[in-house]
Point group: C2
Amino acid sequence: MTSERRTRLSPEARRAQLIALGVQMLATQTLDELSVEAIAAEAGISRGLLFHYFSSKQNFYREVVRATAADLIARTAPDPALGPLDALRASLDAFVGYVEENPAGYKSLVRGAAGGDGEMLAIFDETRSALAQRTVEMAEAGGFELPATARIAAHGWIAFAEECVIRWLDHPEVDRDALLDLLGTALPLLLVGAAAGAGAVSALLPAVG
Amino acid sequence: MTSERRTRLSPEARRAQLIALGVQMLATQTLDELSVEAIAAEAGISRGLLFHYFSSKQNFYREVVRATAADLIARTAPDPALGPLDALRASLDAFVGYVEENPAGYKSLVRGAAGGDGEMLAIFDETRSALAQRTVEMAEAGGFELPATARIAAHGWIAFAEECVIRWLDHPEVDRDALLDLLGTALPLLLVGAAAGAGAVSALLPAVG
């Protein structure tokens, strides 16, 4: 226990410290494995004091998941200085890097750690919606006018990317670059395909050669 | 309570009846809302007798989810008499029909009713893998040789379809046919795109006109 940890922190700083420890531990643990006892011990406070800052374990978990989601959104923010396809690639690179660093926690979140918790589900839905909305804005900045089906496709692509990365973690049958190619190609294909309708498939077939 | 329900059933028949009632109730309820009391009452047996057949509530839930997944897989089985694209369309039509009939339960399952339950997660993973594997076989029957990235893409497409349908249920901004077009176009686009690599996007662009 360092002296820094023993320092008396303001309530805001203590809350932030506990949440940050939770986010950090979620890298290598599933949400279910996350122990409030271990986090309190790491912060040098009692379990009871942790519950003074967070009314319940579930409430603490929610704040940890909210902070994790905000971290993911920030780390994958597209760089406005790049063109849309390069910004997409850099963003996906950051996304895959994030999942590589946080495999257990990420997988547990995507695979339903929310259980029947409505507030937790709302955090997941908001996160996916924020990522999808950003994707739509990136495409529109690239000059595409997106029909309603393409907006649905943008949401679907977020789930596609989540699933592909999780599958890739468990079965790394292709290299990282091939995974990035797959994810980065899929988005414009799905958006353009949604705009082109059923003709899209036949237009693409010659490209396979 | 009908006389049929009062009938003494064999253990196998009673288990099957209870699971079928669970599957049926899951249409309009989330897994969390599913009440073993209500199911026992509907079957005309005591709560205690239900626990005689299933060791725990969680165990009963698992069997209900397993049966629900088997039902979904069976109902969306591709018709071998049709060509691959027609079989895909019919399968997607059945899938969307299934979700329309079971919105609450379906959404709760996709959105993480598994919680931290490892066995439940395994059922979900197996179901998605079965659907993805069937998709790969359908494409290969259509004459495509799929590279490893395309097999990852097939898994991703299952998640894409789940997410699009759930988004569409909550925000029905396009009609059912447009949704089916989107889902049915996405799969060959993603598989062909995975095979074509980065050149796929530029090959498709002229199709948008």
